[in-house]
Symmetry: C2
Subunit: 162 residues, 2 copies
Amino acid sequence: MVDRLDRKILQILQEDATIPVAEIGRRIGLSTTPCWRRIQKLEEEGVITGRVALLDPKKINTRVTAFVAITTNQHNDEWLRRFAEVIREMPEVAEFYRMAGQVDYLLRVVVPDIEAYDAFYKRLIAKIDISDVSTTFAMEQIKYTTMLPLNYIALDKEKAPA
Amino acid sequence: MVDRLDRKILQILQEDATIPVAEIGRRIGLSTTPCWRRIQKLEEEGVITGRVALLDPKKINTRVTAFVAITTNQHNDEWLRRFAEVIREMPEVAEFYRMAGQVDYLLRVVVPDIEAYDAFYKRLIAKIDISDVSTTFAMEQIKYTTMLPLNYIALDKEKAPA
DNA sequence: GCTGAAACCTGGCTTTA
DNA sequence: TAAAGCCAGGTTTCAGC
């Protein structure tokens, strides 16, 4: 599926998607067209899911990140479906996981300040029945990246070099 | 700084950065050039920090997300500086927060499976002195977005419409 | 906000291993 | 025959006005 050259392309694109195809080709030792075709293929196959602009949270007035650990006694599919729907429509929720272990779900929520979190929290519990919620706040975001590690990809078989 | 039109631009670009400037202009009721100039300004001001390609974690063989809560007794700047440096160089760590409350730091780590997490964990504790680590695994990523909520932006004053 | 030049993307066709 | 390279036409970006 993905070979060494594809991986190099992905590495470049998930770091900076503004780099022209010709330049990417140059960096990996390929001319424009084959490089472009590889990118097309990676998009068709769904390896690349999209290209987005990233914003500075401070400039957007969302300085506070809260992690919300949720426990529930509702363990049926219908409840989860509804819960997921509610969460999907709340733009403050950046991430939402179903967890193993003590807590059932984990949210990462971005808001301007603690007051705004409180307002968010009230809106959340008004919309859905939750047994127990425990929130912890982040003081500082030391690292945040959308880049995934590419060293675990199962590489396509290639001809061995001479 | 940012007005209503800028906000619309940001909304579009953080959803899909492949849309041509002319099309963005059309959607917000602006011709190409002024729209382009606004985007330039948003980039210069650092509101837009970059454009990146997003990848499908499954296709990249990183199916497992682990949250790692770290407690330490080292509370000096030098230790944190070194810790941050170590983390920055580990591509499996997507996010890294300094927390308020019981746990000192929180990591979001992406790896192929539990075995790979174990290997990561050993590499981590070999590199840095940590008192206590508690890991919880996500079973499912129900929502993940890089989009920030734009409804909290302090909008620039505008002329009232006639 | 318009216009035009330069850069870039995109697909058909040719070449190479 | 599968993948790389060449080249031309159309689109997009971006600076002057």
